[in-house]
Structures are given as structure tokens and as C-alpha cells.
């Protein structure tokens, strides 16, 4: 870190936690507490007035109070505002609800990269200082219009750059299944909060796997929609041609419900596509009989953990038992995806992050002239991984290197996209592991960026091709490879389904059929109160 520090460094820790006192009794329903319910279960109870939105919201706040000291999924949480939203929902529910509000009274937590009016927006970085969003992102407008309670700022790798949430300026999030391990990233807080039942569902963003990989490593469902399916207005840009907002949930149905709310064309995002939004929940139980699923032969790599491979093989057999046909396919340019990604993503990032210069918002370190001010502010404000990627991106775009790196990577991107379009002429969806291994140890890869990048092999091509992908729980590692003395017995494994552009209905239907025939999603980590 640069020796210059920001004048309000100390205030961050103070601002970081604004929790209400826990209520005395946990609101329970059956064997589950309210915060453990799925959206579908909670909405049914709210509609019957069995429980209030305030009780549901309080139950999430209590759980945060109880476990977030060890998980650290939340950077901050405005409990007063959340409960006020809950009370407003209860008023509407008392009048009979509103059929146009499918999420009325449902607490949904938000990754710290999506703007929520009046709430902090830090992107896991120091450089934004005490920034408060002046407006709502389109996805937030849509969730609010659907009646959701929007609360909390979820931890993430700084500016969504990372695969472990260790790059947050505010400390790492820990995996609910083993707090010595990473939750994945960059949406590590979004996945951990869902799995630790600190919220009912969450929003994340995915540029190279940042929703699907943490969903896999924490054990929940995470969907990256097709590029253009969901508006990026109000999402702080990392790599604009790859970024997409998506949902993380406890079940496939919940994830489909949230997607249905946030999807759609937005005139404020010129890359959002004017295509009708289907009811993603209506087609979930259509079955998978007769569907063709592809297994890419290039994905059976040396670094693939045998237990992960076994889980994916078992899922494949499950699909066949349910009437799907499974065939081998080829994605011949797979081996070039990570190289192309880290050129394209960092090039776009170096341009996007130029706006953080200490002039119009965020923190500022004074300088004798503007150049010195920029350099000092950015040197003190960005963490190591963001600096690395800005330098790499600046380098590949700089005079004399543009053709050799950036233009070539864009051409390779065409080949990778073509691989997928060719494959989708033969199959309806592609089946892969989400991550080659279970969650790794905190600190294990932090000094070896290249090794960290290589762990994104299964998720990155999806963003380059602009297609959709979902990760669903498909098993656990036995824990045999974990070091003695660690608490975990097992770590979640994720199955990834990749679909055609705007093929979300198909991959959700396949994921749902799989989920209904297994019980992985019902297993919960045992979290001790802190």
C-alpha cells in the first residue's frame, strides 16, 4: 500500500457495521426460521398473513447479528431502513397484497457494486470513500417495484476483480462450510449470505464466473444471464462487454423468480436487448425428456479434482435417467479462453476505472498538480489486484502492443463464441463442473495471480461468448483432502449448465429437474453463533 492514506480510513470500520439489537425470540415456522425460507415458501406465508414482512426481515437481521461476525458477508446493513421497507410491505399485505408484486416483503441483499439510492457504494474498495448512491440501478428499481425489501451491502473482491473475495479492502468473507476457506468470488458475500441464511436471496455480478463460482463453492444456486438480458445501468463497470447482473438463491425456482423480475430491456443500457421476458418459473417443471446435453471433452482437465469429476459424472447419469440424451462435444478453443479473457477484461477495466481519479467523487489525496493528485489518489485508493489489472490493461492497449494483444484477443473471442454456437446446433445445453476444485484455503493463492486466474477455466468462456450459465449444488467433497484439525467435513460442489443466448428457460428447467431429484440444496452448514 502506498504511504498516502485517506483521511477517513478509520471511519470505515465504524461505518461498516450498523446492526440492530437482536430480537429476543426467533420467528420460527415449522422446523425452519423465517430467514431460512425460500422465496416461494416465504411469499406463501406472507400472503396468508401467517407471518409479517417485519418478522421475516428481523429474522435475517438476527441471523446477521448471530453469524456474520465469522462470515463477514456484509460490509454494512441499514437495519432501520430495512425494517421501514418491511413495514411498508406489511401495510400493503394487510390490504390484500398486490399481484403485480411477486416479491412483496422478501428480503434481498445486494452486492456492493450495484447502486441503491441513499446507500453506500464502495465496490469493496477504499477509493470510493464515503460515496452514497444518488440513484437506483435499474435492477433495484425493478426489485423495489416488485415489492422486495432491499438491504445490506455484500462483500466482494475490489471492483469484482478476483475469485476469492480476498481482494476486498474491508477483509475477506469466509465460507460458511469452513471458515478457514474462501467463499469464492467476486460475489463471495452474495453467495455466503444466501447459504448462511442471512438473506432470502441476493444479487451479484458475473464478469468471468463471479456469480457461478461462489455459488458453487458455498453451495447455492447462481445464474449469469445472457449478455444483454439484464440492464447494467447502475452496475459499476469492470469489463463492460462481459459484465452481467444475476441472482443467487437457495433454489432454482427462487433464482428464476428473481431473474424474471430483473430481466428486460432498458433504454438506459444500450446493450440491453429488446426481447420479451418469459415467465421463467412457468416452464420449470417441463421435464428434460428428449433434451440433448453436451459434455465438452476439453473440460476433463488435469487440474480437475477427482471428487468434483465424480459428482459431475453422477449428475450426468441422473440426467440420462430422467430421459435426457448426453453426448460428447468439442469446444476446441477452450485452452485459449483464460488468456483472451485477461487481456479483454483488463483492457476494458483500465478504461472503466479511469473515472476514479479523486475529482468528482470518492476519496482524494492532494497533489501539487492534477497528474500528481490522480497518481496519489489512485495509488492509495486501489488494492494490489486492481492495480495489477489496470497496469495489464493499459499495457495491452498501449501503442505498439494493441494489435499483438488486444486485437488478437478479440479475434480469439470470436473463435470461442463460434465454438459455443456450433455446439448449440447439436445440443440444448452444456454440462460442466463450475469450478475445478472445492473452496481453497484463505491465503493459498493470494500471491500467485496466475494460479488464481487459472481456477476460472470453466466459467470464463461463457462471458466471452455472451451466453447464459447457472451453477447448482451437485454434491460435496468428502473432506479427505482437507488439512487435519480443520472443522469442515465436506465442501460444496457446483454443477454448471451453459445455455444458448437467451436460453435461460432451458438451463433453469434442466437445473430444476436435477434439483428436484437430489437433496444437496437442502443441506446446511452448521454455524455457531458468534
Amino acid at each position: 500500500m502506498n504511504s498516502d492514506s485517506f483521511p477517513w480510513d478509520d471511519e470505515h470500520s465504524m461505518r461498516a457495521r450498523v446492526y440492530s439489537a437482536p430480537s429476543v425470540q426467533f420467528a420460527q415456522t415449522g422446523n425452519k426460521m423465517l430467514n431460512q425460507l425460500t422465496i416461494a415458501e416465504l411469499v406463501a406465508k406472507l400472503d396468508r398473513r401467517d407471518v409479517s414482512a417485519r418478522e421475516a426481515m428481523q429474522s435475517c437481521l438476527d441471523q446477521i447479528q448471530r453469524v456474520d461476525g465469522q462470515i463477514h458477508a456484509f460490509l454494512s446493513c441499514d437495519a432501520t431502513d430495512a425494517l421501514a421497507q418491511a413495514d411498508a410491505a406489511d401495510k400493503l399485505l394487510a390490504r390484500g397484497g398486490d399481484p403485480a408484486k411477486p416479491l412483496l416483503g422478501v428480503p434481498i441483499a445486494i452486492k456492493d457494486v450495484i447502486a441503491v439510492k441513499g446507500q453506500p457504494l464502495n465496490c469493496g474498495s477504499k477509493i470510493l470513500g464515503k460515496f452514497l448512491s444518488p440513484y437506483d440501478a435499474t435492477v433495484i428499481e425493478k426489485l423495489k417495484a416488485a415489492g422486495a425489501i432491499i438491504f445490506g451491502r455484500l462483500n466482494m473482491d475490489e471492483f469484482a476483480m478476483g475469485s476469492s473475495t480476498e481482494n476486498s479492502a474491508f477483509g475477506v468473507t469466509r465460507n460458511p462450510w469452513d471458515t478457514t476457506r474462501i467463499p469464492g468470488g467476486s460475489s463471495g458475500g452474495s453467495a455466503a449470505a444466501v447459504v448462511a441464511d442471512e438473506c432470502v436471496a441476493s444479487l451479484g455480478s458475473d464478469t468471468g464466473g463471479s456469480i457461478r463460482q461462489p455459488a458453487a463453492l458455498c453451495g447455492c444456486v447462481g445464474l449469469k444471464p445472457t449478455y444483454g438480458r439484464v440492464s447494467r445501468y447502475g452496475l459499476v463497470a469492470y469489463a463492460s462487454s462481459l459484465d452481467q447482473i444475476g441472482a443467487l438463491g437457495k433454489t432454482v425456482r427462487d433464482t428464476a423468480t428473481v431473474l424474471g423480475v430483473i430481466a428486460g430491456h432498458d433504454p438506459r443500457d444500450s446493450t440491453s436487448v429488446p426481447q420479451p421476458v418469459p415467465d421463467y418459473t412457468a416452464t420449470l417443471d417441463g421435464g428434460i425428456k428428449g433434451l440433448k446435453l453436451g459434455l465438452p471433452k476439453e473440460y476433463m482437465l488435469g487440474g480437475l479434482d477427482p471428487e468434483v469429476k465424480a459428482a459431475v459424472d453422477a449428475a450426468t447419469k441422473q440426467f440420462q435417467a430422467q430421459g435426457a440424451e448426453v453426448v460428447e462435444i468439442s469446444l476446441p478453443h477452450t485452452d485459449y479462453a483464460i488468456a483472451a479473457y485477461y487481456i479483454i477484461a483488463t483492457a476494458e477495466a483500465s478504461a472503466n476505472l479511469a473515472r476514479f481519479d479523486g475529482i468528482r467523487y470518492g476519496a482524494r489525496v492532494a497533489g501539487a498538480d492534477p497528474i500528481e493528485l490522480y497518481g496519489k489518489t489512485r495509488g492509495a485508493g486501489f488494492g494490489a489486484e486492481v492495480k495489477r489489472r489496470i497496469i495489464l490493461g493499459t499495457y495491452v492497449l498501449s501503442s505498439g502492443y494493441y494489435d499483438a494483444y488486444y486485437l488478437r484477443a478479440q479475434k480469439v473471442r470470436t473463435l470461442i463464441r463460434q465454438d459455443f454456437l456450433n455446439a448449440f446446433e447439436k445440443v440444448d445445453a452444456i454440462v460442466t463442473p463450475t469450478s475445478p476444485t472445492g473452496a481453497f484455503k484463505i491465503g493459498e493463492k493470494v500471491d500467485d495471480p496466475l494460479q488464481m486466474y487459472l481456477s476460472d477455466i470453466y466459467t470464463i468462456s461463457c462471458n466471452l461468448a455472451g451466453i447464459c450459465g447457472v451453477s447448482v449444488p451437485c454434491g460435496f467433497t468428502s473432506g479427505l483432502n482437507s488439512e487435519p484439525g480443520t472443522r469442515n467435513a465436506k465442501l460444496p460442489i457446483g454443477l454448471q449448465l451453459l445455455g444458448k443466448p437467451f436460453g435461460e428457460e432451458t438451463i433453469l428447467k434442466i437445473a430444476y429437474a436435477y434439483e428436484q431429484s437430489t437433496s444437496w440444496h437442502e443441506e446446511k452448514p452448521s454455524l455457531a453463533a458468534t
Binding site: 481519479d357 493499459t394 478479440q410 480469439v412 496466475l450
Partner: protein, 95 residues
């Protein structure tokens, strides 16, 4: 996969990033590794391949040229590190 040399100090200046000497040294080694890795793209023949800038088949997206509400002036200034008289304060640019 030989590491590639990168002049981090020069590139960091282009990116307006002030680094410590320790950072310069560390990033040069790490980014040299990454650049060595991406050399593999040169194995592919891309002579007749069109580049992909983004994956959506949309071109020339326009909207009607109409005056519409935008962020109020005071809201745009609210997060500024230094402001006065409805303006951002910046260091002196011209003598």
C-alpha cells in the same frame, strides 16, 4: 511459458497510478508471468477472423433526441471530495 518483461513504472504512469518501488518490483514479476502465459494466443491463426467487441447483435442503438430529467445538480456534487459554489474544486491546471 517464459516471462515477458514489462516496464511497470512507465505503464503505471500512463494509468496515473503512483506505485511504491516494492509494488513496481512485485507487479513486474507477476505481470511478466501473466504476459508469458497469454503468449499462447500467438499459436492460433487469426488472419481471417473478425474481432468480437461484444457478443450482442445490436448496432447503432439510438434514442429520440429529447430533453429528459437527469441527475439534479446538487446530487451530482454530493459525493465530491471538494466543492464550492456548485462546482468541483480541482488543483490549478494553467498558470
Amino acid at each position: 511459458m517464459a516471462a515477458v518483461e514489462i516496464d511497470v513504472k512507465y505503464v503505471a504512469h500512463l494509468a496515473r497510478l503512483q506505485l511504491t518501488p516494492a509494488e513496481e518490483q512485485k507487479f513486474a514479476a507477476q505481470l511478466g508471468q501473466v504476459l508469458g502465459y497469454v503468449e499462447k494466443l500467438k499459436q492460433l491463426d487469426v488472419a481471417n477472423v473478425e474481432p468480437t467487441a461484444h457478443a450482442v447483435p445490436l448496432v447503432n442503438v439510438t434514442r429520440p433526441d429529447e430533453v429528459r430529467p437527469s441527475l439534479p445538480h446538487e446530487d451530482a456534487l454530493r459525493n465530491a471530495p471538494a466543492k464550492a459554489n456548485g462546482l468541483f474544486i480541482v488543483p490549478k491546471i494553467v498558470e
